[in-house]
Structure formats: structure tokens, C-alpha cells
Amino acid sequence: MNPLTYEKATSSTDALERHDGDAAKFLGAGTNLVDLMREGIATPTRLIDVTGLAQSIEEQSDGGLRIGAGVSNTAVAEDATVRAQYPALSRAILAGASAQIRNMATVGGNILQRTRCSYFYDVAGSRCNKRSPGEGCDAIGGFNRAHGILGVSDSCIATHPSDMAVALSLYDAVINVESDEGTRSIPINDFYVLPEDTPDIENQLNPGELIVSVDLPAPSANRRATYRKVRDRASYAFALVSVAGSLIIKDGLVVDAGISLGGVAPKPWRAIEAEAAIVGSPPTEETFRNAAQIALADATTQPGNVFKTELAQRVIVAVLQDLAGDAQ
């Protein structure tokens, strides 16, 4: 880890003022950033701690919920409104990391956590276009069990590892950011950008921009939602495949469907076409199978992750069947 200074911001304005260029970085709980610094992947010389900011979860006049960027993952998962109205979010958070890490980790930091690709982590010994643009990608042709099959490119097959973000994507959350130029709101489903040939650019945030909160739109009546995560051990492992799914069924037909996938893409992957294919159909296995096929139609696999296409389809079907069963 390189020499650095640490300071704690007192307000978002204060944080933005202190952020004076590329060498500065906002610090959440540090459960990801400090690891990246230890590995020499992130090398800020000035850390501005923002954990003291934006600590509340507030219901909005439109019925939605605003979650401060500094709220801990645990606090979100345990919030009564979140559990009742956005159960997939609560479940997704609880399926991630460990209790200790969730107690520390912040919402802002979770959204911005970086990939767990082991070649990305191996600064000394491996090539990585995300870390050093143009260098090449050793994950292609190497160990890529954890890697993506949707939205990936020839230069990068890394996934975004967050569970929480997959649920936020299902609920069409909106990320509110602040900078010297003012504030803006970015839907999470537009927030992350695909790697193409610039995998070092991961999202729409400009340098020095601060995430202040996340908005969840008002819950829809009769919407059932859940989150299911598949991994290589019972706990404390990143998703091989995860599915946040939701259904609204009326008079025997699906009137609204949501599918967001984790562990398979550089971002939480909303399967828009698959969702569309379900709406208007009866909630049958056949309907869901068809949708699952559509969701994975464009999958491009590596030898280490071929199984993910089939696995993702099976989990989509199982999740939707569960939801349909609950609804009946």
C-alpha cells in the first residue's frame, strides 16, 4: 500500500471540496477499496471518508424509499419497509459477504465495488485490460468459472460481483449523485456501462462525483419478488448465478414480470426481452422456460463457465415458478 492521507468529510459539500483530483478517493467502509489498495490496484494518496454522510432511510411522498449512500448493508436488509415492500433487496443483501462485512459495508461502496476476477487482482503476474488498458486479458483462456457470459467483450469477461445491485436493478432504483456541477439522478439500469474495448470504464460516474442516495420507486401492488443465489459453498462466496425475479399475476395471466441476473455479466443484467415475453401469458413452466431461453440467447461462454447458460435458465424458471406458486 502506498503512503496516503486520511480525512473524514463532514458533509457532501465538504467531501466534494476535499476531493481535489485523481489522487483522491472517497472511502466507504473500505471493505473493497482497502483490499484493492493492499493489492496495488487502487493507489489513492488521499482518502476522504464519507461513511458519516447520508445515514438515513426515508419514505418519500410518492411512496418510494430513499436510502442514504452511507447506510450500512445490514441496516438496509433489516429495514422493516425494505423487508415488507422490497423483499428481494433484503434477501440479496443477506445472501452476500458475511455478517461482519455487511455490518460495515455502505450502499455507495457496494454499488461501486469492483470485479473479483483473479487476473484483475494479480497485479504482479497477470495481464488485465481493466487494470491496465490495452495490456490484454489473461482471464480469457485461463480460469473463468466466475466470469461473465452476457455483455462481455473480447477485452474483458469480468462480472460485477454485487448481490445488492441485482435487486436494485430489479426494482428500477435510481442513483442520486452530486458534484461541483450540481446533482443528477441516474437509473441503475443505465448506470453501469459495458466493457466493449474500454473495460476500465465501468459506470457513468465522473471522477470526483459522489453518490448521495439511492431511490426505490413506490412498490407495485401485488408484486411478488425474491432473490436466489447459487454459489460454490453454502455461504460467504460470490454468486456463480443469481436471479432477482418478480411477478404480478392477474386473472391467471402475468401482467408484470421482472428478471435481473447476477454473476453473469459486467453489470446487474436486466432481461428486458424475456420479461416482455412473459407478460400476457399464463404463469406456466413453458412460459418461463421460453423466457429463460430468451434471456440467455446471446450468451457467449468460456470453457470454464459453459454451465452458466443452463444454470441461469434453470434458476430463472425455478424462481418464477416459486413466485407463481406463491401467487396462487
Binding site: P3, S118, Y121, D122, F143, D232, R233, S235, E310, L311
Partner: protein, 784 residues
């Protein structure tokens, strides 16, 4: 359909029963198992009341200190002026260093020294295991002596700085350029030139009759192949050493499994006498075969010498993966032929493993196949290829961990073809004498372990039909396998007994306690031998200035200490005899006619004639009576007897039909390991081994990138081991029948837990799903 209820009483351990097994003499255990009286063995030395220490579940002597954080580990010693070390590791598998840019690192804050092959002191090559009786190094590769790189991860520079952070940072400022040479980093390529190998002084080739022909002629047969990956050492305590050169002595606080051999090996590297090395390791945070001599010791001592400063070198987790040895990958073939009744006519267990050029350790994965079952014809052979990789080395249950997996899956498959219950098949092939050596078993009750395990688990016998059933998405099945580990005893054991005026005794032996309870077991054995209460016995260990040159390996240390104590006790009796006053009826009796019990010296012929030990000590000139003994010949293992531990492991497995996820909700294991000296320690050793095996079965494996020989998961974040949620209730038990040929009746318990669970789980997966899993780790994509 079976009806295995996870909570039925047969699954639960019965604490009362275990107490009986653990806390009583052999007779009770034999009674409980319904063994023929002939199986009873010579009784352990008489002991009773406060003096009965063996079999008592004493709590671990180091437990409280560890829980309080008071136990001092190698990286917790400090000296004035001490600096911290960081290592730079190579990023190529083979080649030459062409340039080393160190100026920036040397100028970095706090840096005291950058050492590379250009300025390192000239050192001898370390002596690896088997190259000499004292070799304790993982390889003989020269330590930073030239520009040659022999594996991806080899240390190429050492940085010493005032703080660990400064050292770590400066290490990132060093630039190394290489000229790459052709490296062998592919198993397939290396396998092409693999040769029949050797291990521990013998060729890994056994042929009896014509096994291939017998297989071809067999009425029923299976012929299977298996793959197992490399496994990296991951003790909870990463390797560390604190070094000080002072007054002509190289002082090392280490985490060694064998302090004497480590000291001797390191002394030879520096060209000094072993008396000039004082190496201790009071607490060791896990060993498992990996806490031996690796480059970090030597680099720390060399850099300390060069900088003239005390040094602490504490490896990062990545550092352990890069330099501290791994269990070798294997490809195995097991073919079994039998007649219709299940009598084995052919047993073939062959395959290939990998080693490095600079050691003579070959993963001996056919050992259990030599000893477990009788077969008319046998072919056992291990070929080793050579790869440019991190040194392969010992890891808990070398050979048997993966070898039992393959053999026991093959037995299950054969049982299915024969439509015979898997236990019955094993019973039918239970050997009367050792199948390959013809020697008599010193003690063997495998069949009792199978039967008792079946009873406690609630095993439903089967004859070729799967018993698995479905519960929602989950496919549930059960499986069993035998467990195996050899008895071993290494030479070099010694111990000193010193009696004090208060009626207590000090036991000193250079043994290691890596957390398995050596001091606790030693105190119990000494208490029993001496007839001195357990609490009045102090044990000093883990220091090469103490008697003996033991290594805690191959589950033999407790036996070796037992033999040493017996020898020291004999010397002690002679000492005590010389102190007996002329007026005593004991006067003039030779040591052989004396014993100690209940705090007194007594006549074996007339136990009522006795003198309290405190009196004898008081009459001595120095006020203490001290005696030292050597472990003596180890003929019991080397020549006369077939001495092996066995066991039976039963598991329930659930496989998710949607995702292929595997859960193991229950394990029962019964072991036949001779006498159990302390039920608490034993349970913990067995369970720990089983958990480690669970990890090996379902998740563990080095991601060895064959393109450049680099391990790509050198962290707990990516090298998976079981979490609490993965570990079920594990019911363990034992036959507790003393082995009359083993010094304390005990054969060793540290490693057998690694043997059996993998096959039992794989067999249960088959029972649940109808799919055979023959490659480790067994992960969900294999079962989708």
C-alpha cells in the same frame, strides 16, 4: 426408499456411550462392540483414581492461553531494532533474471536493506526430506544464490524496513526483468515422461500375479479414472519467523513442526553447527505437513545477517501459496475384478502425479490399496512427472487423502454391479493378514468399525439399488467408505523426566504442538507412566535445546513420545533405585523389578513395599532426580507387524436438482486407531480432518494456470474451504482397542479423518442422483 431422518437418534452421538468408550479400560469398549475375547490385547499399565490419565478428556493445556490471546506465536516476538521483511516473487515459471531495479525501493521510506541474489550471502542448498536423516526442507533449490528462476512465485528479492507497511510498499517498487525459458507447466506434457517413482526409500511399484489378465477374466469388474487437483497449505497461522543473530547464536522463533530438524537443516545452509542455532516454536497455528523449512526462514536469517538487525518475516497469505508447498495433483486409475460373490481377483491402482526436480517426495496414493483388502492379483504403481511449479509436499494424510477417495469409490461401483451391500463387499475382502506383506495385524477391527458406524448412522443395506429419494428440489442419498492411515514411528524421539521435591515432574522433549494437544497428551502419558497426578506434570516442548529430534508428522508423534517416556522412565527407575536407603526392603532391587505408581517407587513383586518419590528426591544430592531416554528401536513398524488404522465414514448428501448444489447434512465416522488417549483431543482431531476432507471433496483446489504455472487463487477470497454453514454435525466414535505393539497402545489419530469422507460423499451423491463424481472437487456443474 430409505427413511433416514436427519434427527433420528441413530444419527446423534450419544455422549454417555462415548464416555464409556473413552473413559474406561479396553474391556468396556470390547464389550460394547461385542468383540471376541481373543481380540482383547495386553492391558495398559495399571492406573486408578487420580492417577488414571489416559483416556481422560483433559482440556487442552494451551487452550486458555490461546483463547485469551496470551499464546505467543512466531510473528509476535520482537527485539530492539527489529525490522520487517517483505518478499518479491517471480512471475515466470522458468528462466533467468536479467535485471533487478532496486534503487527506488532502497530509497523508499524506512527501508534498511534490499537483498537479491546479487548481494545475498553465499549459502549451501537446503537438505530436503529423505536426502539425509535430518533433511527438513521442502526442496533443495538454492535460496537466492543465482539468477535462475525455477517456479512461478520463487522469491527474487527481500526488503527489510522499519515497519511492515514500508517493507510491503517498497517491495512493489522493485522491477524485475526476466528471460523466459521453456517451462513444463502442463500436467499432460509432464505425464508423457513420467517414471515409476519412489517414496520413503522404496519403489512405488507392487505387482502380485497378473492383475491385468485377472481383470480381463473377472466375472465382474470396474475400470475407472479419477482426477484430483493440487491443494495449497492454508494453516490459520501463515508461516512466520522472528530472527536474531546474537553472540554467535542464530535465534529463531519459528512455527516449525520439528524444531530440531529445522534447526539442523538451517544450520547446514549457513555452514554453522546446529548448536549455533536455537530454534523454538512453542505455539504453532496449524501444521498439516506444511510447517517445515521453506525459503522464508533462510531469507529472513540471511537478510538479518546482512543488515545486522533482528528480522520478523511474516508471510502474507499469498506468500504461503507462492512458497510453502502443496499437495500434488494426481490422475489415478482404479480397476477391480471379482468373482460373483465379490471376492477380489484383481486390484489395480495406478496413476500419475507430479513433483519438482529438487525433492524426492512422491504423493504415495496407493498406500491404502496395499493394506485394505485382499486380492488374488495386484498391480500398484505410481509414476511421477516433473513440473516447474511450487514444491509438492506433505499435506495431511499424504497419499491416503486422495488414494482412499479413488479406491473407495471404485469399491462402491463394484458393490453396485455385484448387487452386494458396500459394507458386505468390504467385509468379504477383509484380509486375515496384511495382503501385501503377509505380516500379522498388530490389532485390526475394521469390520467392527463398519458395523458400529452403520448402526449409529442408520445405514440401510442395499443390493445394487439406489436408496436415494427426493424431497422437493433436493435429491437425498447416503454413502459410505472405509478410512485408512498407516501407523508410523520415526526415530529420534527422546525425553527427559525431572522429579521435583513437591512430588511433581517436568517432562522435556523437543516435540511440536501445532494445536493438536501434544502437551496435553504428553502430560497424560507421563502421568500414567510415572504414577504422578496429571496436574503435577509440566511439559516443555518445541525447542531444539530440549532432548530429542522429533517431527510432528505422519500421526506418529504421540507414539514416539510415548516410547521416549518409557525409555526415560527405565533410566529413572535406575536412578531412583540408587537412592533407596539400605534399610528399605526395596534396597538392592534392580530397576527391572521396580515400578512407580501413586507417587511412590514400589516393588513389582510386592507392590505393598513402596517409598514415596518425594522422599527419594529429598535424599538425592541435588534435590532433583533426572533421567533421559531415547525412543529406542522402531522394529514394530519396520519389520514385524502390519500396523494400520482403519475406519468407516458414512454421509448423507443432498443435491439440488435445479442447481446441482451439494449439501452434506450428516457425517458419522468410527475409527479403529488403537487406544484413544484423550477423547476430547481425539474428537477434535477426527472432526478437523473430516472438515478438511469435506473441503477437499467439494471446493478445494489450486487454480494452477498451466499457461505460466501461476496459482491464480492465492487468497481465502478465491481458494474456498468450508464455512460454518457447510459443516454439519459430525458424529465420531472409536473402537478404543489398544494396539499391543504401539508404545502407548495408540496408533495416531491426526490424519485418518482426511481419508474416507471424499469417497463417502461421492458415493452418497451417486445414491442421490445416479451420477458418479470421480474428479475433485465435486462442484455443482458436475451434477446439474
Amino acid at each position: 426408499m430409505t427413511n433416514i431422518k436427519p434427527n433420528s437418534s441413530s444419527h446423534k452421538s450419544d455422549p454417555n456411550r462415548r464416555q464409556v468408550l473413552a473413559g474406561s479400560a479396553a474391556v468396556a469398549a470390547i464389550g460394547a462392540f461385542g468383540l471376541p475375547v481373543g481380540a482383547q490385547t495386553t492391558a495398559a499399565p495399571a492406573a486408578s483414581g487420580a492417577f488414571a490419565s489416559l483416556g481422560v478428556p483433559h482440556v487442552r493445556r494451551d487452550g486458555a492461553e490461546k483463547a485469551r490471546g496470551g499464546a505467543k506465536f512466531a510473528a509476535e516476538y520482537s527485539y530492539p531494532g527489529m525490522v520487517y521483511g517483505a518478499l518479491v516473487y517471480s512471475t515466470i515459471a522458468r528462466g533467468t533474471i536479467t535485471s533487478l531495479e532496486t534503487a527506488e525501493a532502497e530509497a523508499a521510506p524506512g527501508v534498511v536493506l534490499v537483498m537479491t541474489h546479487e548481494n545475498a550471502p553465499r549459502l549451501e542448498r537446503p537438505e530436503p526430506f529423505y536426502s539425509s536423516p535430518t533433511g527438513m526442507a521442502g526442496s533443495s533449490t538454492p535460496v537466492m544464490q543465482d539468477a535462475e528462476v525455477l517456479w512461478n512465485g520463487q522469491p527474487v528479492a527481500v526488503v527489510l524496513a522499519s515497519t511492515q507497511e514500508e517493507a510491503d510498499h517498497a517491495a512493489t517498487l522493485i522491477n524485475v526483468a526476466y528471460e523466459e525459458a521453456d517451462a513444463v507447466t502442463s500436467f499432460d506434457v509432464a505425464a508423457e515422461s513420467a517414471q515409476t517413482s519412489f517414496y520413503a526409500g522404496r519403489d512405488l511399484l507392487i505387482e502380485e500375479g497378473d492383475a491385468e489378465a485377472a481383470l480381463a477374466d473377472a466375472e465382474v469388474s470396474v475400470d475407472l479414472s479419477f482426477n484430483t487437483p493440487a491443494h495449497n497449505h492454508n494453516q490459520i497461522e501463515p508461516h512466520a519467523v522472528t530472527v536474531l543473530w546474537k553472540d554467535g547464536i542464530l535465534r529463531m522463533h519459528d512455527c516449525s513442526q520439528g524444531v530440531d530438524l529445522s534447526a539442523i537443516t538451517i544450520a547446514k545452509v549457513f555452514g554453522i553447527s546446529s548448536a549455533e542455532v536455537h530454534l523454538s516454536a512453542e505455539y504453532v497455528g496449524g501444521g498439516f505437513g506444511g510447517k517445515t523449512v521453506w525459503q522464508y526462514h533462510i531469507l529472513a536469517a540471511a537478510a538479518s545477517q546482512l543488515a545486522d538487525r533482528p528480522v520478523r518475516m511474516s508471510l502474507t497469505r499469498e506468500g504461503v501459496f507462492r512458497i510453502c508447498g502443496a499437495r500434488a495433483p494426481t490422475r489415478q486409475r482404479v480397476a477391480l475384478g471379482s468373482d460373483r460373490k465379490g471376492r477380489l481377483t484383481s486390484l489395480i491402482h495406478t496413476g500419475t502425479t507430479m513433483k519438482i526436480e529438487n525433492n524426492s517426495m512422491t504423493e504415495p496414493f496407493f498406500e491404502q490399496s496395499e493394506h485394505m483388502y485382499r486380492a488374488d492379483n495386484m498391480h500398484l504403481e505410481i509414476r511421477a512427472g516433473t513440473m516447474d511449479m511450487l514444491a509438492n509436499t506433505f499435506m495431511r494424510a499424504p497419499g491416503a487423502a486422495t488414494g482412499t477417495f479413488t479406491l473407495e469409490v471404485a469399491l462402491d461401483e463394484l458393490a453396485e454391479r455385484l448387487a452386494i451391500d458396500p459394507i458386505e463387499l468390504r467385509v468379504r475382502n477383509e484380509p486375515d493378514v496384511n495382503p501385501t506383506t503377509g505380516r500379522e495385524h498388530s490389532q485390526r477391527a475394521s469390520v467392527d468399525a463398519y458395523r458400529e458406524g452403520a448402526r449409529r448412522f442408520g445405514w440401510v443395506p442395499r443390493s445394487g439399488q439406489r436408496q436415494g429419494y427426493r424431497e422437493g428440489e433436493w435429491q437425498v442419498g447416503t454413502g459410505m467408505a472405509a478410512a485408512y492411515y498407516p501407523y508410523k514411528r520415526f526415530p529420534g524421539g527422546a525425553a527427559r523426566i525431572t522429579l521435583d521435591r513437591e512430588g511433581g515432574a517436568l517432562i522435556e522433549t523437543a516435540a511440536a504442538d501445532m494445536g493438536m494437544g501434544t502437551t496435553t497428551a504428553t502430560a497424560a502419558v507421563a502421568s500414567e507412566r510415572l504414577g504422578i497426578p496429571y496436574d503435577a506434570i509440566e511439559v516443555r516442548h518445541g525447542d531444539n535445546t530440549l532432548p530429542g529430534a522429533l517431527i510432528a508428522a505422519a500421526s506418529q508423534q504421540t507414539a514416539a513420545i510415548g516410547a521416549s517416556l518409557t525409555a526415560a522412565h527405565e533410566v529413572l527407575l535406575a536412578e531412583l533405585a540408587s537412592l533407596v536407603p539400605a534399610t528399605s526392603p526395596l534396597h538392592g532391587l534392580p530397576a527391572a523389578e521396580l515400578g512407580t505408581a501413586e507417587g511412590a517407587l514400589y516393588s513389582l513383586a510386592d507392590p505393598h513395599q513402596r517409598i514415596p518419590l518425594i522422599d527419594l528426591v529429598a535424599w538425592s544430592e541435588s534435590g532433583t532426580v533426572s533421567a533421559e531416554g531415547q525412543g529406542g528401536p522402531i522394529s514394530e513398524w519396520t519389520q514385524d507387524w502390519s500396523m494400520h488404522s482403519t475406519g468407516a465414514v458414512f454421509t448423507e448428501v443432498r443435491v439440488n436438482s435445479v442447481t446441482g448444489e451439494i449439501r452434506v447434512p450428516h457425517i458419522t465416522a468410527i475409527y479403529d486407531c488403537g487406544k484413544i488417549l484423550n477423547s476430547k483431543l481425539a474428537e477434535s482431531q477426527f472432526r478437523g480432518g473430516i472438515i478438511m476432507a469435506l473441503g477437499m471433496t467439494l471446493m478445494e483446489g489450486a487454480s494452477f494456470d498451466e499457461r505460466n504455472g501461476r496459482v491464480m487463487n492465492p487468497s481465502f477470497g478465491s481458494y474456498y474451504m468450508p464455512t460454518h454453514l457447510d459443516v454439519p454435525h459430525i458424529d465420531v466414535g472409536w473402537t478404543d482397542i489398544p494396539d499391543p505393539q504401539a508404545p502407548t497402545g495408540a496408533r495416531g489419530i491426526g490424519e485418518i479423518g482426511m481419508s474416507g469422507p471424499a469417497a463417502a460423499i461421492s458415493n452418497a451423491i451417486y445414491d442421490a442422483t445416479g451420477k458418479r463424481a470421480r474428479d475433485l472437487p465435486i462442484r455443482l456443474d458436475a451434477l446439474m
